[in-house]
Symmetry: C2
Subunit: 307 residues, 2 copies
């Protein structure tokens, strides 16, 4: 089934210990779309400026991604610059130029409205909620957020969390949102805010999915997927969005939702995140094929499974 993603398309300038890239295509919706496109049909909603060319848009088209929801506005595309020092888990932002993204009002093409899966990437929670309410055929909503919204728009975020099926955030965000340093306790507090499930991404240590009691009728035991030990992380940008793309894309591709499907989705999330960081920007995500993805899925399995 098709999935709609709403979020940023950007040009990134990135420096890591492995090198540097200037003004390369990025943004949460871009990473998400490319990762999910290996599993299902993707429809993107975003805003870009006049500097976003047909060549940039063709990156989406090459993966069959529907770009009718990309609004072309007057002005420049969102730009972000950052660097990763020795600690590749944390970016130091050099600059953020919101440009056309500052007044982003997601425009949903009529043709998108029959999608059953929706991913709300990291944007203002009020915009997230508006999109979800407009997409009234949606059965499953994934969502992301960040420290900025947790601290500054807590009331609005609380409303949005009631509309989200699975929230995907990292350890720091989960602890901040819950006001609680113990991870499983933080998870339960976040689940009490609305979502049926919570995926907490642990970076190089993998991810855990926590379920609300009774969610999906599958029992509330958590499940953990690994991350791959990678010797050369070229560029961590977009790893989390690629994780979400693998997770949601796999879910949308399945005929039914059960515990086993959710577990596998968590593994596919890790797989897509592991590919994303192997090259700068979206490079690796553009050149994959499903056989490579499934081979790495087996590597993840061998990394953690007893006989």
């Amino acid at each position: 089934m098709s999935i709609v993603v709403v979020g940023s398309v950007a040009f990134d300038t990135i420096a890591t210990p492995s090198g540097r890239a200037d003004d390369i295509l990025g943004g949460a919706a871009t990473y998400f779309s490319l990762a999910a496109s290996y599993f299902t049909d993707v429809r993107v909603v975003a805003v870009v400026g006049e500097d976003f060319s047909a060549k940039h848009e063709s990156v989406f088209h090459q993966h069959g991604i529907d770009t009718r929801g990309i609004e072309h506005a007057t002005g420049k595309t969102f730009r972000w610059g950052g660097q990763y020092l020795d600690n590749l888990n944390e970016a130091k932002t050099d600059f953020t130029e919101l440009n056309v993204f500052e007044r982003f009002q997601p425009q949903l093409p009529r043709e998108y409205l029959d999608s059953r899966f929706l991913f709300l990437a990291n944007i203002h929670p009020t915009l997230q909620a508006a999109v979800r309410l407009e997409m009234d055929k949606v059965l499953f909503t994934g969502g992301d957020t960040m420290n900025y919204w947790i601290q500054r728009t807590r009331a609005e975020l609380a409303e949005t969390l009631k509309l989200i099926t699975v929230l995907l955030i990292n350890d720091t965000e989960a602890k901040m949102l819950a006001g609680e340093t113990n991870l499983p306790r933080a998870a339960h507090k976040v689940l009490a805010m609305g979502p049926q499930a919570l995926v907490i991404k642990h970076g190089e240590y993998g991810a855990t999915i926590f379920f609300r009691e009774g969610a999906f009728g599958i029992g509330s035991h958590p499940f953990r997927a690994p991350a791959l030990p990678i010797e050369e992380v070229k560029d961590p940008t977009g790893a989390g969005d690629s994780f979400a793309g693998g997770f949601m894309g796999y879910l949308a591709s399945q005929p039914e939702l059960n515990r086993e499907v959710l577990k596998r989705a968590l593994f596919y999330g890790g797989v897509m995140g592991s590919f994303a960081v192997e090259r700068f920007g979206t490079e690796r995500l553009r050149t994959l094929n499903r056989a490579e993805i499934d081979a790495r899925f087996q590597v993840f399995r061998e990394l953690t499974h007893l006989e």
Copy 2:
């Protein structure tokens, strides 16, 4: 097969967000012995003072642990005091009174010398090496170390690492020892120093075992075991030593060493660590039975395994 452990026996004074305990039995050799005792015969080598009573020693005897290698010296037993604040992963030391431990010279009873398994808990690397060389029937040596020895006795530690089969340390120690922030690269650098395998403990995220190329004839792919998401960590003290006890104890109990056995050992390490932190000090490790341990092993499996 029996296993000899050399390390500290101590009295700990511990404060955590869950409470406080004064002068309770602790020390690396104690946690290790108790954890390993559920799998195999354990022989302990340590030094204690005059304040170490028959009642304390009976804790070992109740688990069939051979204490003939515990030297009773004149003076007081090693005492450590520390507290865990919100971050239960890190202890703040309040005091360290080495007492009789300061002049610890491991005395190996003749009856211990036929053991094939040896665990060198965290003591001066020169003492570790001396014990290993004296135990000339040993086929498999586990070892621990810490930042203190990595920084101050690097040359001596380098010699000891050549005698160790599997080194068990945490992320920070592995990165410091290798002078490398990327974990798999750090692992390979540590393996080049001597050990056949390296277990890196990630605290609440589990542990990874890295193998030297050709080690044990089992291929060099790493393997990851989870940790259990625990809502109330009462006292993290001894988690790493309990992990080592489960890991080494299980290995020593098996008729042969192969990849599957090493993988399961990593799971049993996580299992024993998860029990250790549920109560203060050694309390939970004293009251376990093998059925509880194997039930939790299944929980660990369900936490990570796809169908």
